[in-house]
Amino acid sequence: MSYEPDILGFACNWCGYAGADGAGQAKLQYPTNFRIIRVMCLGRVDPSFILRAFEDGYDGVALIGCHIGDCHYVSGNINAQDVVKHVQGILDTMGLGRARLRIEEVSSAEGPVFARVVNAFKDELVAMGPNPLKVAKPTFAQEEAQL
C-alpha cells in the first residue's frame, strides 16, 4: 500500500477556510488525509498546537490564511509567520525538518490555489517519508481481534 501522509491544516475563517469551501464547490481534488481545523484567525495558532500535532504523529502541518495585508484582525497572519519561523527552527533541531511545517496565503476566492497548495504539500511529504514519531495505527484485522 502506498504511503498517505496525515496532514493537519489550520485554516482561518475568512480566507483559508472559505478557500477550502471554494475548492469543494468547484469539485477540485485534494488529499482526503488533509484535516482542517477552522480558527478565527491564524494569530490564534499557538506553537504548542503545532508541536502537539507532530507529537500525535501528523506528518505535516499547514497554516492557511489571508494574504499579508488582508487579515481581518490586522496582523494575525504576520504573527503566525513569526510563530512558524520559530517552530520550524525547533523542528530542525528535533531532526523532523522544517519542511514539515508551512504557511500559505489563500484568499476566499482562490479555491484552485487551495487545492494546488495542498496537493503540492502532500507530494513533498510523500517524498520526505513518515514522521518518525508516528505510532503505527492498528490494521483492520488487529482492531477486529481486539473487539
Binding site: P47, S48, H86, D92, M94, G95, P132
Partner: protein
Amino acid sequence: MSKPVTSAELPCIQCNKCTHVCPQNMIDPTFSPRGYLLKALMGEGEALEAGPEIWQCLTCLKCREACPSSTDWVGLVKSLRQEAKEQDQCFECKHGRLMQILQRMMANPSLKQDRLGWAEGLQYAEQGEWFYFTGCLPYFDNMFTANSHTSIAQATLKLLNAGGVVPVLSNDERCCGYECLWNGDKETFSKLAKLNIEAIAATGAKKVVTSCAECFRTLKSDYAEEQELPFEVVHSVTLIAEWAREGKLRFKGDAETGVTYHDPCRLGRYEGIYDAPREILKAVAGERFTEMARIKGDAICCGVGNFSNCDANTKFLQHDRLMEAKGTGSEVMVTTCPKCRIHYGCYLDGRPIEPIDNLVVKDITEIAAEALEL
C-alpha cells in the same frame, strides 16, 4: 504512592516560618504552606490535591531553609502533583504546555535529533571521558527569543576547551525531564532518564558537565534515584572555579561593568553550591562584584517554578529582584541557571511594571568566556 499525611511523616510544628519566608506568600498572602500543611495533618489531603494551591508553589525550597523541624513541604507538593497527574487533574502549564509536549516528543526513542549546529568551529569529540550535557539550550533559541541561549553552550565549550578538555557532544542527548518530574509526569521522566543514561554510557564518558542548574540537580540527584549512575555529574561553575584556582584558566579581572550574582534555587538551596560562582565572579570582575542583600540560602526565586506558574505575582517577584540587583549599582546580573535567565529576560523584554534601564541578565559562563585570557 502513599501520601505523607500523618504527623510522624510530616513533622510540622505549625510555627509559620515557612509562610513567612515564602516568596509566593510575599505577593499573595492567601498562599500559605503552613495552612496547607495543617490541612494535610488533619487528613484533608484530597482537598489539596484538587485545588490550585499545589501548582502555585514555586518549589524554591526557601521554606525548608527556615523550617526548624525539616518538614518536606516541597516533597509533599511533588507527590501530590504526581497523584493529581495520575487522576488526570493536571493543571494547564504555561505556554500551552509547550515544554511538556517537547519533552514527551523527546521521550520517543525513534526521534533522531540534529542539535549540534551551535558547536560549529569549536572542539568536541564523539567518544571520551568528559560529556557536556547541553540540555534544551538549542531548543530555547527558538522558544524564548529575548536572549540567545546557545551562546551559553558556546561559552561553556570554549571554557572547557581552554581548560584542556574536549568534551563529547551527542545528538542522542535529550531533555533531562526536569519539568516533567516537577509537574507530576513521572512516566515521561523515567523514559527520558533511561534514554539519557544510555546515551551518555554509550560514549564511554565518566564525567558529565552541565551548564544548567536544573539539569545538574536532575542528573545528579533525581537520576540517581532512578538507577545507579555510571558517571559523575559536575556543574560547570565547580569546574571553572577549580581550574581558576589551579591557574589553568586566567581571567582579565578588569570588568567595565558592575556585576552581581543571583543564586538559582537548584544550584544553591538544592545542591548547596554557593562559593564556586562567587569565586569565578571575583576573578572575572574583581572589585566590581557586589552582593545583593538576599543571597545564598536567602536568595529569592526568579518567580517561575517548572513553568507551572507565571502570572502577575511572578512579575512582582521579578521586579523586586531586578530592582535589588539594580540597587547594588551593577549593570549585569549573573546567574548559573538558563531558566532564571529566560524568566528575567522575559520580564525585561516584555512589559515591566516600570522600566529598568541598563540592566542585563547574563549567564556566568558567558561573562567568564568573555574575560578569558588566552
